[in-house]
Symmetry: C2
Subunit: 301 residues, 2 copies
């Protein structure tokens, strides 16, 4: 294999993703495992999880540096990397990355503590990856990273100036699995997507009727057969994503970019269109690019 330069680790709560990066930052190889940070406890467990996944890469090239981001740097991770306060750029993050051992560093998360504190771990790296791939975003943009805890991060002059988390994905999972709404829906994963119901949910959110009120409509639309059982999950998804977008669009409009899982980003793009927003830039996994960019800043490569 040609010239590996860095082992990049996107080490979240539930997954460990490893990328072997080449001289241009390109992904030569990638692997993943279930050894998320929340499943591990103690230095040895983290060492072992890393050895299991990429021990052969390290044996083949013992001098390769490793750079990690995500919950591996939390209080309960391998080594705590204290949050860096916004506004922050890649240089500040890189300067505050603790060294775990001779060749391994962990990128710290960000805290926005202007008012009520908000935090991210891992997304900051995806953001700097997105800015590395699309420098035109670095001037003034809002990067949206949908997920269990969606992040809306404002970027200006190459720095993350602030951000807000929305528990949209977690609320969806809770309501889909445990609430009174779940009883009217087919078992999880068994229903085909209903784009119409998704749009209907987004449009309901645009009317801004109060989330806890509008959620109850998922039940009544099912009870009165205005939506079929298999449409209800998508209506719920549209309602939740719509409320997230409605809340964020109250700020001054900015150029938007969506970063993350393509299917989920496509949903957000569809919902944004219902709000009359121009089509956002869509970016897939930018964690390897972010780790590459930060490793350059740290002169690890």
């Amino acid at each position: 294999m040609a010239d590996p330069q860095l082992i990049a680790l996107d080490w979240g709560s539930t997954r460990l993703r490893a990328f072997l990066l080449g001289a241009g930052g390109e992904v030569l190889l990638s692997r993943q495992s279930d050894a998320g940070a929340s499943t591990l406890s103690g230095t040895e467990a983290f060492e072992q999880a890393l050895a299991t996944l990429v021990g052969d890469w390290r044996t083949a090239q013992p001098a390769l540096p490793l750079l990690a981001c995500g919950m591996v740097g939390s209080q309960h991770g391998w080594r705590e990397a204290p949050y860096v306060a916004c506004p922050a750029d890649a240089t500040e993050l890189a300067a505050r990355a603790p060294q775990v051992h001779e060749r391994l560093y962990i990128i710290p998360g960000l805290v926005d503590d202007i008012a009520t504190p908000d935090v991210m771990r891992g997304e900051e790296t995806q953001i700097f990856g997105a800015l590395a791939l699309h420098p035109e975003l670095a001037g003034d943009a809002c990067l949206v990273l949908p997920g269990t805890h969606s992040k809306w991060a404002r970027v200006a002059a190459g720095r993350v100036t602030g951000f807000a988390t929305h528990m949209t994905g977690e609320l969806f999972a809770l309501l889909r699995q445990h609430s009174v709404l779940a009883r009217l829906m087919p078992a999880d994963g068994s229903s085909p997507a209903s784009p119409e119901a998704f749009v209907q949910g987004v449009d309901a959110a645009r009317e801004d009727g109060g989330l806890a009120h509008q959620l109850f409509a998922v039940r009544t639309l099912g009870l009165f057969k205005q939506l079929a059982p298999e449409q209800l999950p998508d209506y719920l998804s549209g309602l939740l994503i719509g409320h997230e977008i409605a809340g964020e669009l109250k700020r001054a409009p900015q150029r938007l970019a969506l970063v993350g899982d393509p299917a989920l980003c496509a949903r957000y793009a569809q919902a944004l269109a219902r709000f009359g927003q121009p089509a956002p830039l869509l970016l897939d996994n930018t964690a390897p690019a972010g780790l590459w960019r930060l490793a350059q800043t740290m002169k690890l490569i």
Copy 2:
């Protein structure tokens, strides 16, 4: 015992509450059991649950009429009592109460289907009980019935003209038990109340930052030790109740009355005061008064 006139049954999803009412509608005796409608299936199961709880009352006075409200009248209850559309008054509800057997009737629920449908079963009876006890509310008021699914019902000229459900109590339970927020909180029921944290949550909701966003602050306020673990449930409660109130107060202001569990109503009253609202009328369980009023309308007594 002096002169019983009616067996009033408040038969919800999880509880069956029975009241033996005297000649003035006063409660002579009351009992309850876990034989909620959601735990029973088939006519015999309902018959049996009723016999177990109040069989002796019926044996002593076989001619006593019985009137029930709540989920006992749902699709999956003893006998379906189809929803009556708003606006509706006590006479309309009484006229549409199906007869289950010679002496037993079930009060139907209400549907507000002007826009997205909304439904209630049981609360309509509490509302007409409140209006019977406080006729001054019947002209123009909003009755708030806090709970798992809180109801805000608008009343004018003796009719319920419309209402909205908020899944506030259910969201609290889901987030308290199953979410990432729960991990920072003490086990359920083990923490003393924190009125300060409750008010802080209400005040956060008044800023209207988007519910799914503000929920994440429950986590970060705990992470950064701005609130103690035992304060987080009350902050969460204040946030959810505050959002419910903020959404409803966007309508034209009306005279408010709180109906239901005194401890929960006291929380709502405290939150309403933070919104600058005058002290609402507080009413405890009004289901017996409502069933008495409807039984009079039906000439059962």
